[in-house]
Symmetry: C2
């Protein structure tokens, strides 16, 4: 059985979604797991913070006041990374002009939103119940649906979702007039991931261009589909359900795995079991089951080192503006990239070799999955409160 060998030898694994390799050094974890048992971290935040720019009723940097919202609340980021309206820029690329080859730039427009998960300042997805997370999924779905191009192949599904999901005025946004290409929903959680406000929230960046990562995934999933006639992630889910080595958790609609090609120590992937192209494809039951999957990941992460576990997460799905074929190629999934390696304080740094040469990890995805499987059960800090 060749897989056993991989627990002991340095090797590369292939990420079929991005088409790139990473270095795995399992023997480095043979060093004694010094697993410094830290004191479990409690939650010492107030449930309302008058200084937080996300708490209900508070004033934001640019003077706007937050409504007295109940769960989700969406607004345009006061410091968006992309502008909505700006000067045009249309450089020409010309084989004989070196500058036009080596100094290439293209305009990007768009709009960035911030979205709270809860009115409570001191909660996290790990503390919330799946039922409390459903409004977040609902808001994501309604915002995604409202930004689809008018000729989008998923317009029917969008209409269905919009009529099935109750409107939440505080979570509604009016899409910009110009059709955008892509919507990236992501969460940065914890100071280690550059998040300065613990109030539970995510960001939604919409752009006129298809960014690198979802672009690469679409290309690679497309190649797999035309080579095999099947879906890459569909095949992958089946394989992981058979092998079980990297499976962390499943329900009827979703699997949670540490993917074969995981780079971050406890990286996981939530993948839909059936062919879901985007949020609007999910029905009521599936939205609840997606909330369950998100909750399982967040709670297991916190239980692993008995700490408020930092991570960046993000959803990949069909672009806002795409062809029938691109929509068919898309397969709904959510990545979680957490930096912690051995304890609440020992991080894996992706630095010199990783940046200059190739991503490198120590603990194998199989070892990570086995630890996360053991971390189910009640959130550790419930018993501390």
């Amino acid at each position: 059985m060749p897989d056993e060998v991989l627990n002991d030898i340095s090797h590369r694994r292939y990420n079929p979604l991005t088409g790139s390799w990473l270095l795995v050094s399992p023997h480095r974890t043979k060093r004694p797991w010094q697993g410094a048992q830290e004191t479990p971290s409690k939650n010492t935040l107030p449930s309302y913070d008058p200084k937080c720019y996300l708490c209900p009723g508070n004033k934001r940097a640019q003077g706007d006041s937050n409504p007295p919202y109940k769960n989700t609340f969406a607004f345009v980021n006061d410091y968006s990374a992309v502008k909505e309206i700006q000067q045009d820029y249309h450089p020409e690329t010309n084989k004989d002009d070196v500058a036009s080859l080596l100094l290439q730039a293209r305009p990007v427009t768009g709009r960035c939103y911030v979205l709270t998960f809860s009115a409570k300042h001191d909660t996290t997805l790990a503390d919330m119940t799946p039922e409390e997370i459903v409004p977040v999924i609902n808001t994501w779905t309604r915002i995604y649906a409202s930004h689809l191009s008018s000729s989008h192949p998923l317009q029917d599904q969008a209409a269905k979702a919009l009529s099935a999901i109750p409107e939440n005025p505080d979570g509604e946004v009016t899409p910009p007039k110009h059709q955008l290409k892509n919507m990236q929903i992501f969460e940065n959680k914890g100071a280690a991931m550059g998040c300065s406000n613990p109030h539970p929230h995510c960001q939604i960046w919409t752009t006129s261009t298809l960014p690198e990562e979802p672009g690469k995934e679409l290309v690679n999933m497309g190649k797999y589909k035309s080579d095999t006639g099947r879906h890459l992630l569909g095949d992958y889910v089946k394989l992981e359900l058979e092998k079980k080595e990297r499976l962390v958790w499943e329900n009827d609609s979703f699997v949670v795995v540490c993917p074969w090609w995981a780079l971050w120590p406890f990286e996981v992937l939530i993948i839909s079991k059936r062919h879901v192209r985007a949020l609007v494809d999910l029905d009521d039951k599936e939205r609840l089951e997606f909330a369950q999957a998100v909750q399982e990941v967040a709670r297991r992460y916190d239980n692993l080192f008995e700490t408020n576990f930092p991570y960046s997460s993000g959803i990949h799905q069909a672009p806002l503006d795409c062809t029938e074929e691109e929509a068919e190629t898309s397969w709904f999934h959510m990545h979680f990239y957490p930096p912690l390696l051995r304890s609440a304080t020992v991080k894996k740094f992706l630095v010199g070799y990783e940046l200059m040469a190739e991503p490198q990890r120590d603990i194998t995805p199989e070892q990570a999955a086995s630890k996360l499987r053991e971390c189910g059960g009640e959130l550790y800090r419930k018993s501390l409160q």
Copy 2:
């Protein structure tokens, strides 16, 4: 003049070395530069630390003792990321076997070295003079030369370099018996870059495979060469010397630029002006001028925020084992990726959007270059001592 527009609009820039795009948001820096003036950081380390595993004469984790070395000292990493000898693993890839497509792994062998820059525990490349850095460049060159394959197109240059550079017994290593493919020289400096020991040192990882980054660069430089008949970095150096907007510093042999496609706030690239394929191509004068360039970067970095500036740096050059064509395509350069954005404590986090969608930066490379141009002169902490 279109370039002015780019100071104000959100846009993507193309990295021709990796073939990928990044998002630039210059307007985000229109926020007042709160440039919290920090107290300049002094150096409070001892020049010899009895507990440091890199100081001369001290014992290392696995029991070996360091010699009483003078400047550089090289040894095999006690916890190498790749093994030298290990079980074989030769899986077959088969179009009809899903597991062989989606769970791909390949063995990697190799050897990792640690190399000190100085016997002094409390110095850095910024504190050292170019003349003191020359022994580091010499050791890099000798180690690279001694690891080249016997049929390597640069064998003549290697022989010349080995006879020109005085031997330093503490900086010599015997290459492994099996020919390796690639050598990555890199430095992680500062706790922010995962470095736990301030004793000035770098790492050298040699592997049986060509890693992702140098692999991508070779492909893209090769394409440019066959399309234009010229060298990508040769053309680029000329362009930057003409434009001067991103030029930080130059001497006869090297330029220091904030590249057009820089991702990290104060990212710089040292590029040779003439076609240097690898360290062994450099002559005495060029090795000194390379040391000067490295010193300029390190000192300007420290002066910028009056702090011991963290970064990861790494050299890209011809692989250890390569064809004539690959060697000809290679163009010697050194990357510096520093995380600081606005002060000694304000970092740029490459997290949620960057990981899930596309790398994003705020300050433009032109703004960064202009700040670094102003940071020449004596190392700020000289006057504090």
